[in-house]
Symmetry: C2
Subunit: 251 residues, 2 copies
DNA sequence: TGACTTTTGTTCGTATATCGCACAATATCG
DNA sequence: CGATATTGTGCGATATACGAACAAAAGTCA
């Protein structure tokens, strides 16, 4: 690609949109400039453009995103067949297990939920398609990272802020790499309250008919209800069953 | 706003992202140019920019969006407090009713799901936050349109493609306006299989403590399970209860 | 309160990058 | 293989980004 085939104004604008997130529903021009590391004048133009197009509101001081930006993200969910294919399988799985079932893909250092069948809400976090969690401490993340060449997994870990969400969280890169090997060998990953106290989950990889890893699915359950050890005996067969069914329909 | 405060390269790029959707998971440069009505060279630069940034994949012929674009849309869901505030109320509502409960806002001619507590999947369509439905034939859409000044509602209807999804769908603008008046008077809207055969739903408006309409919530149920008439007696009290609870916590 | 400092928003001229056109190259198909 | 459609490229005209300077608030402290 040539230098001139890159629209930097567009790239800058996308960076500005991403500056809104988690902790930043309202951004002043200066806030956004700091977060994006762009010039204030440039950020201002991007924000005014967003406002003009209806993607943002402006009260003269702060900018806020409008629901219209969901059109952008949703273009993916609507356009890609994967979530739609997975959904009914997750529904079935969730029903049989009596617990929430989800599917995710890897995006950088995070896993990204692309479909979910939720039973009762047990986590403090509200997960929906589009939600993200750090890969290193999530069961689906372990499975997805384990499916990568070890060098790539290391690179991703190096870029991750490995923080201990609970006392049980593994934060040592070497320990994680060892865990990935175990996951690869046994074909599933179990997380015992590493993300949130009281929450266990088990995940298996989803491959297409050519054996290429494309996603992961999991079942999450309250630790009070199912111990980490029980997760395997109780839910692994169901996950394997879904995994096998999906391998046949995914190209 | 001055002419020069608008970054057209950014606006064009966003238009290109939106070209992906529903029926368009894979777009060639020419496809995208036709859909966006932009010059091929321009679209090509935008697409290559998206690919360079990891928002799209390019196989030399077709572009596809990657999950990364969900970051953009999700910036809204993560940044705005409304979905997070609504979610637990919808969970409760859904549990009490034993049916799916959702919340949406109006975006142009469509309603946009911002939160959802789903029970079993009864619709052929898979709805998640970010999903859209035409406003004129959805219960929440009726409520949201009924909350607008009649002139605005007419304008939106004029921009809508009023198609009969089922034999029961109301497609006559005047009939719809009359229905909006009824909805406004009675404080709720019922849809009897206008969107999809076999599906009924009932919606109420959600106002903040200043009485300003900001969203709508609904309950959907299979027509086989609950007739349209039963929807009111069975679910309206629950919806009213949630509506009252939300009025107290929304500013 | 009022003068001073700091932060934030806006404007402007200019160097530079992007747009869109026309043409060239390549792929697709009968 | 020729016809048609699609994609890639060079170039002049135009629009945008940059950085600094200015204006306007907001904060600070005596």
């Amino acid at each position: 690609m040539r230098e001139t085939d890159f629209v930097s104004g567009f790239a800058r604008g996308l960076k500005v949109i991403e500056a809104f997130g988690e902790m930043h529903q309202r951004l002043s021009i200066t806030d956004a400039a700091k977060l994006t590391d762009l010039d204030r004048a440039t950020v201002r133009r991007s924000l005014l453009t967003l406002a003009e197009l209806g993607y943002a509101d402006y009260d003269g001081k702060f900018f806020t995103l409008t629901p219209k930006v969901l059109r952008l993200g949703h273009a993916y969910l609507a356009a890609t067949p994967l979530p739609a294919i997975l959904q009914p399988h997750l529904d079935q799985l969730s029903e049989k297990a009596g617990q929430s079932a989800s599917a995710s893909v890897l995006d950088g250092t995070e896993i990204l939920y692309i479909a979910r069948a939720s039973q009762r809400r047990v986590m403090s976090i509200n997960l929906t398609p589009g939600s993200r969690l750090p890969a290193y401490c999530a069961s689906m993340g372990r499975v997805l990272l384990a499916g990568l060449p070890e060098g790539e997994a290391r690179t991703i870990l190096a870029r991750t802020e490995l923080k201990a969400n609970t006392p049980r969280t593994i934060t040592d890169p070497e320990e994680l790499i060892a865990e990935f090997r175990r996951v690869r060998a046994q074909g599933y990953a179990v997380i015992d309250q590493e993300l949130e106290l009281g929450l266990c989950s088990i995940a298996v990889p989803i491959e297409n008919d050519r054996g290429h890893l494309i996603a992961a699915i999991n079942i999450g359950a309250p630790a009070a209800h199912t111990s980490a050890a029980e997760m395997v005996t109780r839910y692994l067969p169901l996950l394997k069953e879904t995994q096998a069914a999906l391998r046949l329909v995914l190209r």
